[in-house]
């Protein structure tokens, strides 16, 4: 698998204040993105995710370090020929309609004639914006802007799609649809670079991740390698048995009128809980073993740092 994107010891600092003072934002960021994978770029707000993306796209210039896209130096405009980008908050010309907006970018990318119209029609359908195509962008909701922004990012049929917090302003259905689109992009052979702080999204669709904190990559690798398969505890929901009967077997998380949610840490105790429920003629509503999540790893790392 070839490297689509590679960052090597990228440093960036901003000069802020009336008397300019250097504030380091990226402190030697290095990682690479392989061809055909969905790469998750994870970090809390202000960690340097967007700054990294801006460096990749030449919107800001690193103080030092090397960035290559498809083996080309990112400083050359032709390196971005096969790149699609959706910014964090979609800022577009709000006086254009959805179709005019896509036409403008298609013209910039050198598309014309029937191919241009077909591509725009296809993308409007893909992101579910056919009905709003003739509406001015100023009348779009945040979610609609994200969708039309994604269509804009896919106009040049990019081999690398960079998405900065793409699911930020979306409702649950919108997020699911966006996830499906991203997974489909991978199926089409495209590489996706996905920056987010929504861990569930990353966990669901990403192959590899890099975690950035205060401008430094603190961990990176395959998701399977980062998250252990070990069961941390088992969540058991029981009905018809009072909470007090389970106190010696596990931790009671919540209890309503006749239901108790238990956190059982020892494997032997699970069997004991089941036997107790059978004896008391109660009912097991659910039994869910909980493995480590990306959230657990992330929270631990942030705390340790």
């Amino acid at each position: 698998m070839g490297k689509v994107l590679e960052l090597e010891k990228v440093y960036k600092s901003y000069k802020l204040g009336f008397i300019p003072k250097k504030k380091p934002v990226l402190k030697g960021v290095s990682f690479h993105v392989n061809e055909g994978e969905i790469f998750g770029y994870l970090g809390p707000n202000g960690a340097g995710k967007t700054t990294t993306i801006k460096c990749i796209l030449n919107l800001i210039f690193p103080d030092s370090g090397q960035i290559t896209i498809f083996g080309e130096d990112s400083l050359k405009p032709k390196a971005r020929r096969r790149v699609g980008f959706l910014p964090e908050n979609p800022y577009f010309y709000d006086y254009l309609t959805g179709r005019e907006f896509l036409t403008f970018y298609a013209d910039l990318l050198g598309l014309h004639g029937r191919a241009k119209q077909e591509k725009i029609g296809y993308l409007l359908k893909l992101v579910g914006m056919e009905r709003a195509a003739e509406l001015q962008l100023r009348k779009y909701s945040r979610g609609m802007l994200q969708r039309i922004g994604l269509a804009q990012a896919l106009l040049n049929d990019p081999a690398l799609v960079i998405l900065d917090e793409p699911m930020g302003g979306l409702d649950p259905i919108g997020r699911k649809e966006f996830r499906d689109i991203i997974v489909n992009l991978k199926k089409e052979g495209k590489t996706v670079f996905l920056s987010s702080h929504i861990l569930q999204d990353i966990e669901m669709i990403c192959d590899r991740v890099a975690i950035i904190l205060a401008g430094e990559i603190i961990n990176q690798g395959y998701l399977g390698d980062l998250i252990s398969e070990k069961v941390l505890y088992t969540e058991i929901t029981v009905a018809g048995v009072p909470e007090v009967d389970f106190r010696h077997l596990g931790e009671s998380v919540s209890s309503s009128s006749d239901r108790v949610l238990l956190k059982v840490y020892e494997e032997d105790n699970i069997e004991k809980v089941i036997q107790l429920v059978q004896q008391k003629k109660g009912k097991i509503v659910s039994l869910v073993p909980r493995t480590e999540t990306l959230e657990d790893i992330f929270v631990n790392m942030v705390k340790n740092q």
């Binding site: 800001i60 910014p87 577009f92 050198g110």
Partner: protein, 254 residues
């Protein structure tokens, strides 16, 4: 192709700017006012109409170039529309040139409209079409192209208010610097004179584009002078655009 696409979009954006129409109506108002001013004048009334008319086109054209030019790039950065644009495989120079040409097109159309109103007022007064007046307006347009480049240069690194003030300063210096030519003649040759000469070359001389007096008083204009003024405009505009590109080329968009 990329430059024309950006220019077209800039024109589309400029067309929506209310300031443009406000200034046009003010200009049209001043052109009409010149007709009434002529009534109060003793002597050649037509000269007053021509004088006030050309000055109005020059003044309001300059305000259009400055007010719209200074907001041009700043708005793109402020509203962050520049992010998606520059993430495409386009060069920053193409972006800047597209913006410049889009505004030049807007200024050309607005100057044309003001000229049409002006010629109509003149026609209603004299019942003849004075084509020579268009020569003076053409050179006003060249001056406005230069002012657009200046406004664009300032808008690449500062806010619209400051950029407008700087551009206005450039305009005032440009219209007063011709007096330095006289000063140079009067200073004895030496270091002082050489320094003044360098300063005169660097500072803009917008009076090079002023053919109003010649047109109004029907004086002959040597073709050589027209050629030199045109060349001066092209070279100075290119120089200012080059400076703008140098500033813009390495700018961070935070």
């Amino acid at each position: 192709m990329k430059i024309t696409t950006i220019a077209r979009n800039t024109f589309k954006e400029a067309k929506r700017d209310r300031v443009l129409y406000l200034l046009f109506f003010f200009a049209a108002g001043c052109l009409l006012f010149s007709r009434f001013l002529a009534l109060l004048t003793v002597g050649d009334r037509i000269k007053i109409i021509k004088d006030v008319g050309l000055a109005s086109i020059s003044l309001f054209g300059m305000l259009m170039a400055i007010l719209m030019g200074t907001g041009l790039v700043y708005k793109e950065i402020d509203k962050k529309t520049i992010f998606t644009l520059l993430a495409k495989p386009i060069h920053r120079v193409e972006f800047l040139l597209g913006k410049f040409l889009g505004l030049v097109l807007t200024i050309f159309i607005m100057t044309g409209l003001m000229a049409a109103v002006f010629l109509l007022i003149l026609f209603l007064h004299t019942f003849t079409v004075e084509w020579k007046i268009l020569l003076a307006i053409l050179y006003i347009f060249f001056e406005l192209c230069l002012m657009t480049a200046v406004a664009l240069l300032f808008s690449t690194f500062t806010t619209p208010i400051l950029a407008s003030l700087y551009s206005l300063g450039f305009y005032l210096i440009g219209h007063l610097s011709w007096s330095m030519e006289m000063l140079i003649k009067k200073v004895k040759s030496g270091a002082g004179r050489a320094a003044l000469q360098v300063l005169y070359i660097v500072l803009p001389d917008l009076e090079n584009f002023n053919f109003k007096t010649e047109v109004v008083h029907n004086l002959p204009i040597p073709a050589k002078l027209l050629g030199i003024s045109f060349l001066y405009g092209v070279v100075y505009t290119a120089f200012i655009l080059l400076l703008a590109m140098l500033v813009f080329r390495r700018r961070d968009f935070i």
